[in-house]
Symmetry: C2
Subunit: 394 residues, 2 copies
């Protein structure tokens, strides 16, 4: 089984861009990924492409993978669109790893995109709803804020979580996002701001919720056989794990955890032969502040019920023991559905390359990304490790 | 690189099933696939699932992969939805091969489904249109019949093709489909019937066009390490190839060929280390009769301009030198978008297992499937070989 490496990663700004198309955003991300490759990159090297998108708005619902790859000059290259709701491009990266490990490709482009902000409020509600269970959630009026509010309610009740902990997640992620030039909500938000914001779905206030976003992100994955052409200290994809679960929240036994994340994390740690205590930083799927707290527990960063303590102690701040969402997360950086998973890998790449600027985690050598589809119908976790040059291919 | 094998494949009937859901159709296909495994199969062995669907009607547009796999009892198994328009599940099978060859899975379920017949005519037009180029095709009113009619017009003009050749394709495929219990249009259709049917988009008449269909199909792919548990004479996936192209027809240089198919075929033959003359039978993407003729040429079954002669000579009939679409093809068996690619593999599996009944091609040991997305924005080709028991894992 050949090892797979991230040799480049880049993204567009996340935000509201009425003058951009999904194609132009994807091109921006692709060009940023190409420019990030330490030793240079010729796009003609791409053997295959995998593109994640939900297809919000239905602009190019079929064949949207080839529609964006042709636009960046990869018209003849095999391209597959993958979709697992908000985890679409996390799964695209996983598929790129499989393509490389299978021996069927040496260099694979994994990317994602979404354009959401030009839809009407009703259309946005529809398009977000399509990732919930249809009959018993979407058609009965359940929104994602409502779904995660139910999870927050169960969690808060069981573990006596004060709402302030949710606000601390938001404040931390905004503090990081304010240092990320690509962030959609790149401003600071205090705990008090989050506490006093209008309630969207009790207990979640406006600042406990990620925005709707336009954006794209791209990751270049290469095999151990060719990685030396692109980087001297490449970033190895040490572990990959995925899991799924019942799509409908009402079909799950326990709303205070996301079993798909647990399964994905277990498989990723096993593949990387490490435990959660060996992770230096993580990008987790904080579509709502409660989701970040659940992730701490699902990923094994703390015991059940202790996530609130972790954030209250500052452990997951940028200067803490285990910085989480140094990019700003979905909360502050933004959440263009199909771009989010690949966008998390962009942050991991920058942190492990030492190019994260003001957001840099000192001495980061191993990072994790965690991407969830819907309310937990699917999840994917990756573990990344920076290698020293003498170790390549060893 | 580990070899991958098809150890089971099955499908639901294709047709109009107002009392079925996408989940129940998928379950029927999954159970048929499980029942087809020569030495028996425990669904708990499935390590991963890949599901192709376009999502016509938007019932469960996000997370539709986990939504169907949970319904067949695979709720925790990693599942990815893939979509490349009408080639969705052909690419799902390809992805299953990559998963097995990567070493990340031993047994993978690759399936697909679509429910189309309960949509209104306008909705069906929209949902089929989404696989065309949006701005310059769908929104300007181009339908797929219109797209393929343009290709037929260019081809007929260049090579002086009489419309009768299109009708001969239809008659041949209906003759096969009449022997397939799963076929939607399982009746015979004479050349005269096809000639005299109403024109849908000149030169294509009604019987030159496939129907809209509901249905599902599933394929079980296993690694060489475990294949002996399932079959003594397993069917090896000897070659896999994929290609893409400009999504919009107007962006292509030549309308009388599908370059994505040529690229996919070239890669599949190279991987299988064979040429087109070593294929015993083929399932090709005949969404419109002209598409089958283009496929003959794109797949190398004959020279450019000779496809009409091939069908006229009866070479691609069931008793001919190279039987094509013994299942009835999309034309007669039906074309539930996301199920079609996996459904082609069902026919290849039955032919190579000697279980194709009245449709059996005598002595078939090597078959090919060819699945196209849209008007050729993506294509995927597989080559399958029946192995003798002593060769397994060799």
């Amino acid at each position: 089984m050949r090892d797979a490496y991230v040799v480049g990663a880049g993204q567009s700004d996340f935000g509201a861009f009425p003058d951009e198309s999904y194609r132009s955003l994807f091109r921006t991300a692709f060009e940023a990924a190409v420019a990030s490759v330490p030793k240079g990159f010729d796009p003609a090297a791409v053997d295959e492409a995998v593109v994640g998108t939900l297809g919000v708005g239905g602009r190019q619902l079929g064949l949207s993978g080839p529609a964006v790859t042709e636009h960046v000059g990869l018209g003849g290259v095999p391209c597959t669109r993958v979709e697992n709701a908000c985890a679409a491009s996390g799964f695209a990266v996983r598929q790129a790893v499989q393509a490389v490990r299978s021996g069927m490709a040496d260099v694979v482009l994994a990317g994602g995109f979404e354009v959401m902000t030009d839809a009407s409020a009703d259309a946005t509600k529809y398009w977000l709803g399509v990732s919930g269970e249809t009959e018993w959630e979407r058609l009965s009026g359940t929104t994602f804020a409502g779904t995660y509010a139910q999870m927050a309610g169960v969690y808060a009740d069981r573990y006596d979580l004060p709402r302030e902990r949710l606000s601390q997640v938001a404040a931390k992620n905004h503090e990081n996002g304010a240092k990320n030039p690509h962030a959609q909500l790149g401003f600071e938000c205090s705990v008090e701001d989050a506490e006093s914001a209008p309630v969207v779905a009790d207990p979640l206030t406006l600042y406990h919720c990620c925005p709707t976003s336009d954006g794209a992100a791209c990751v270049l994955v290469a095999s151990e056989d060719v990685v030396a052409e692109y980087a001297d200290e490449p970033i190895r994809i040490a572990g990959v794990g995925a899991g799924s679960d019942r799509v409908g929240l009402f079909q799950r036994e326990d709303l205070a955890r996301i079993p798909a994340s647990e399964r994905a994390a277990e498989r990723a740690y096993e593949a990387a032969r490490i435990g959660p205590d060996e992770i230096d930083f993580a990008e987790v799927h904080d579509c709502f502040a409660i989701a970040e707290l659940l992730a701490y527990e699902d990923l094994g960063f703390c015991e059940r019920g202790e996530a609130g303590d972790l954030v209250a102690a500052g452990a997951t701040e940028r200067g803490g023991d285990l910085p989480v969402n140094t990019s700003g997360g979905l909360k502050s950086k933004g959440h263009p559905i199909g771009a989010t998973g690949a966008g998390q890998v962009v942050e991991a790449f920058e942190q492990l390359s030492g190019t994260a600027g003001e957001r840099q985690v000192a001495g980061a050598t191993r990072g994790l990304t965690h991407n969830v589809g819907g309310s937990g119908g699917a999840a994917v976790v990756h573990v990344f490790e920076r290698e020293e040059s003498e170790e390549v291919g060893a």
